[in-house]
């Protein structure tokens, strides 16, 4: 959906741009702009939901504060959205839309707005996931996945095939479990439980490990019959054993490349962040999916790994994770 984002004076992103693919893995040190990109996308979703200010994007030129400009893939390639504000304002809270004139252009923008409304960002929280939750809170996974139990309970009822696929994937990846079920825990609350294989025992959500819960949340997103249009996932590797990171990658690819996994859903654009060289190793065949976030002093810039002219030569010598850790790719903390 989004083809590129250009930043001017937005937090540490003073003057940089990032081209976006269906799948994007952002790597870089803290403060290098990874989360700022996600914030910008959430800001876009929010402001696109409001009534846009009239006039062309160039009208924002009078604003001397931060600006974020969004470009889109076809069929929205002729639409441009700019967020901006005055220098003394705290955040980009004004939105201008530049689209082709006439009814056709207005329709394009209306359709794009609907898609922008589907942008979601997740920073999973295992403690929040562990607690029982109101059964009625299961329409859509919350930002921290705190309503995981309610979402899965609802999916088990309303989309049993998708739920069965999710459970099959979960039990394949975590063979110590044989299934998932739900238990009512008073006043409309529901608790998620995982059945232990070869045992009558069930582990309640609060007793599942951090990594198990994160994996379950990622699978919940990957098997969502009505997924977001754009999904941001912070620290995609968190809590997951390095040997299981391939499963995390596959789950996210399932969203970005639905044909590859024999599903018929529309493409979900994915933006994930990581600090794991092990996860990075898994993108050796697709360096175009990696975005390096560089930090120099107080300024940060983005660079797509495939734009480095020497990347194929470098990858002949060693794996991507070690290349990143060594510092020769950049995207590392300052000394």
């Amino acid at each position: 959906m989004i083809s590129a984002v250009h930043f001017k004076d937005f937090k540490a992103l003073r003057s940089t741009a990032v081209r976006l693919e269906p799948f994007n893995l952002l790597i870089g040190p803290s403060g290098s702009g990874k989360t700022s990109l996600i914030e910008a996308l959430l800001r876009l979703r929010y402001l696109a939901g409001q009534a846009p200010a009239p006039g062309p994007a160039s009208a924002l030129a009078f604003l001397n504060g931060p600006q974020i400009e969004f470009h889109f893939h076809p069929p929205f390639e002729n639409v441009r959205v700019t967020l901006g504000c005055q220098a003394d304002e705290l955040s980009c809270h004004r939105l201008r839309v530049d689209h082709p004139p006439g009814l056709a252009g207005a329709r394009q923008w209306a359709e794009l707005r609907t898609q922008l409304h589907g942008i979601r960002a997740y920073l999973l929280d295992h403690q929040a996931m562990g607690a029982p939750v109101l059964r009625s809170a299961g329409t859509e996974l919350a930002t921290n996945a705190s309503n995981l139990a309610a979402v899965l309970a609802q999916r088990a009822q309303q989309a049993p095939v998708a739920f069965a696929h999710l459970v099959a994937d979960f039990c394949r990846i975590m063979p110590e479990f044989s299934g998932l079920d739900f238990r009512g825990v008073g006043e409309g609350h529901v608790e998620l439980r995982a059945a232990l294989r070869d045992s009558p025992e069930h582990l309640s959500c609060e007793n599942l490990s951090q990594g198990t819960l994160y994996l379950l949340a990622i699978l919940t997103l990957a098997h969502d019959p009505q997924p977001p249009t754009l999904l941001c996932l912070e620290e995609a590797d968190r809590g997951v054993h390095p040997r299981l990171l391939r499963e995390v990658r596959d789950a996210l690819y399932r969203l970005s490349y639905p044909v590859a996994t024999e599903t018929t859903r529309p493409v979900v654009q994915v933006i994930a962040t990581t600090h794991s060289p092990y996860l990075l190793d898994l993108f050796r065949d697709h360096p175009s999916e990696i975005v390096l976030a560089h930090k120099q002093g107080n300024a940060a810039t983005f660079e797509r790994l495939s734009e480095r002219p020497d990347i194929l030569e470098l990858m002949r010598e060693t794996n991507l994770g070690d290349l990143w850790y060594s510092g020769i790719l950049g995207g590392i903390p300052g000394d």
Partner: protein
């Protein structure tokens, strides 16, 4: 009379799919069942395989009953092993088979023979029956997917690859091989394992084609494995 005990083998590869395929092929070459040393070993691709191999050999030697270790890596763009590399004391620094064999030789040379030096008191297996861990090294040229396509696509051979390398224009890429095997460049792990197993199972009972089309990469592995019969008495 008791049947001979199955060999205990360790396998070092780059992915669970490679592991599934190699395990089947090893069984076909040995012609006998074997058991796998647990936990399974895994490397993060070249050069991690070379870096982690000494520690793995030491671990297998002292802490397990492993009779042998099988290592299979992708050649990627590296120099492909040739019959000239088999000359005594020859070592090609760009050839992954030569390099892995050197690591085996150097590491094993410095480990005591179990018969003369019993395993340390901390060892979980104080009565290890073999003296040294046996070696089997294979090289998938340029990647495991080439082996999977053997017999299906006659244009995919070690010779085609090395001739292409020499001419500066390789006949196919890793991505193209993936497409041909999986129908996508981004297969899921279960799909990758399923296709790997499907394809190598075609070679059951007849490995001649694989040895003919991949005489150095797969041939070396098969020759190493066959030499074990004499060395181990299995």
């Amino acid at each position: 009379m008791r049947a001979p005990e199955a060999m205990k083998l360790a396998l070092l590869s780059e992915s669970p799919a490679d592991e599934a395929a190699i395990s089947i092929l090893v069984g076909y070459v040995l012609g006998a069942p074997f058991t796998r040393v647990q936990p399974t070993l895994r490397a993060r691709g070249w050069p991690s395989v070379e870096q982690v191999l000494p520690a793995i050999l030491r671990h297998l030697h002292f802490n397990t009953e492993a009779d042998g270790l099988i290592v299979v890596v992708d050649s990627d763009d590296s120099v492909v092993h040739t019959p000239q590399h088999e000359a005594p004391a020859y070592h090609h620094p760009g050839c992954r088979i030569c390099r892995l064999r050197t690591v085996f030789r150097r590491t094993l040379k410095n480990l005591p023979l179990n018969a003369a030096h019993p395993a340390p008191a901390t060892s979980a297996h104080p009565r290890i029956r073999r003296e040294r861990v046996l070696r089997a090294v294979g090289l998938a040229v340029p990647a495991m997917e080439a082996w999977y396509l053997c017999g299906r696509d006659t244009s995919i051979t070690e010779a085609a690859w090395t001739q292409g390398q020499a001419a500066g224009r390789v006949p196919y890429t890793r991505s193209e091989l993936k497409w041909r095997v999986y129908g996508t460049e981004r297969p899921t792990l279960p799909h990758e394992i399923k296709r790997a197993v499907q394809e190598v199972t075609r070679h059951q009972g007849d490995l001649l084609r694989l040895e003919h089309d991949f005489p150095q990469g797969f041939g070396s592995l098969a020759r190493d494995l066959r030499s074990w019969r004499a060395e181990s008495g299995h």
